[in-house]
């Protein structure tokens, strides 16, 4: 629990603020405090989000790489078994949804699934634990769930989007432009068709742009809401014994339920990525 003088609003705000390093309007760089955090523009970086997201990805890749180096055709044991189970699961999912030639998609899906899962899993760490530990070191803000930072989720969604566009052009070439302009309304008469192109393009571009946004914001929204509820539950601990006990029960219940959300959101992100990549590879 943070210091006792905080109001609930301050407490919540504190928990929802990233540790930010950025350029202030006067041109100097530095960590933001509660007073000047609003002044930061685009030239700022959420240090906690970056450290946790990269750290978790590094952890995932380190563990999997260690298994991959030692992987043999013998009977797998222990952690190798677990890793192979995940790899086979992802491989099955990808083979089910994606039929193109690109070898990238399966490792992409594996990275997304494991990475997002680990980032989401940070949500199950009690909300006050890490910020409190880190405040002992004198760091003011800390958010340990990178997926509650829209920058992180949108960053991944935009990367997926970039891959979509890249493969759409690579596989379909001009066909992709046709896809964007000659449907959904198709006419036999070429003159009418040309007239309808801007309208078609408007519709198609909206549905195209909607994909990365829905992908990133779905994950962000789910995790942000989950985190918010954890924060609200932890507010109960200040309300005396009865409320505190209730908070404990609620926190446990919500955490158990959240295990489902954590896994499900990672899975959805992974599957949608596969679906989008598959759409990029297939002609209608």
């Amino acid at each position: 629990m943070a210091s006792g003088e905080q109001t609930s609003t301050e407490y919540i705000n504190h928990h929802l603020t990233n540790l930010t390093f950025g350029r202030f309007p006067d041109g100097s760089w530095g960590f933001a405090t509660s007073k000047n955090i609003e002044e930061l523009g685009f030239m700022a970086i959420h240090v906690d989000s970056m450290i946790w997201s990269m750290g978790l990805a590094a952890l995932f890749l380190f563990l999997f790489h260690r298994v991959a180096v030692k992987a043999t055709t013998d009977v797998p044991t222990g952690f190798q078994n677990f890793v192979e189970m995940i790899v086979e699961f992802i491989d099955g999912q990808v083979k089910e949804t994606f039929h193109g030639q690109t070898k990238m998609v399966a490792p992409l899906a594996l990275t997304i699934f494991c990475w997002v899962f680990l980032m989401n899993l940070m949500d199950l760490v009690p909300v006050d634990l890490v910020p409190w530990l880190i405040s002992l070191l004198g760091v003011g803000y800390h958010k340990i769930v990178p997926t509650t930072d829209p920058n992180v989720t949108m960053g991944m969604a935009f990367s997926v989007f970039a891959l979509m566009i890249f493969y759409s052009f690579k596989v379909k070439g001009v066909g992709f432009i046709k896809e964007l302009t000659l449907q959904p309304f198709t006419f036999k008469n070429p003159f009418v068709q040309v007239l309808i192109i801007p309208f078609n393009f408007l519709l198609e571009i909206v549905s195209l742009i909607a994909k990365p946004f829905s992908l990133g914001l779905r994950l962000f929204g789910n995790m942000y809401a989950g985190e918010m509820i954890f924060i609200l539950i932890s507010l109960l601990y200040t309300g005396g014994l009865i409320l505190g006990l209730m908070g404990g029960v609620l926190q446990f219940g919500w955490a158990v339920f959240h295990i489902l959300v954590v896994t499900l959101q990672a899975f959805i992100f992974m599957v949608l990525t596969c679906v989008y990549m598959s759409m990029a590879h297939e002609d209608h």
Partner: protein
């Protein structure tokens, strides 16, 4: 909670991590998995083949055994036949030999009897002559009474 450089940072690290995963994690793991799959398939095939081989071998063994039994039975039968034959032959031979021996013995007996008879006859004739000489107190002229003596001898 605003959009800032973190977005770019995340995109860059995303690219790096996906590349790393593709290069150093996924390919190695999927290769190992596929190799194992091939190995298992091979093993199963080998097991199938071995099973078939075993079946064939068992059939073969059964056939061989049957053949051997039949052969053994044949051999025993022919041996029995041969034994019976040998016994028959031996019996026959023995019977013939016996008959032959019997005939020889009979002939010898007959011969012995004849010679004994002759001897007896001669001795009796001698005795008769001696007796007659005694009775007559004179020598019998063998030449004169030869006919009579022979007749006597043949009557004995």
């Amino acid at each position: 909670m605003s959009i800032n450089l973190t977005l770019i940072g995340q995109m860059l690290s995303f690219a790096v991590f996906v590349w790393f995963c593709h290069k150093f994690v996924w390919s190695a793991l999927i290769t190992a998995l596929e190799e194992r799959k091939a190995k298992i398939a091979e093993g199963l095939n080998a097991a199938d083949r071995a099973e078939k081989d075993l079946e064939l071998a068992q059939e073969e063994a059964t056939k061989k055994l049957k053949e051997a039994k039949a052969q053994a039975a044949d051999i025993i039968e022919s041996a029995n036949k041969r034994a019976v034959q040998i016994i028959e032959e031996a019996k026959e031979e023995a019977a013939q030999e016996g008959e032959r021996k019997l005939a020889a013995a009979m002939a010898e007996i007959e011969q012995e009897a004849n010679s004994a008879k002759e001897e007896l006859r001669a001795k009796v004739a001698g005795l008769a002559i001696a007796g007659a000489e005694k009775i007559l107190q004179q020598s019998v002229d063998i030449k004169a009474h030869e006919k009579l003596l022979d007749q006597l001898a043949s009557e004995l």
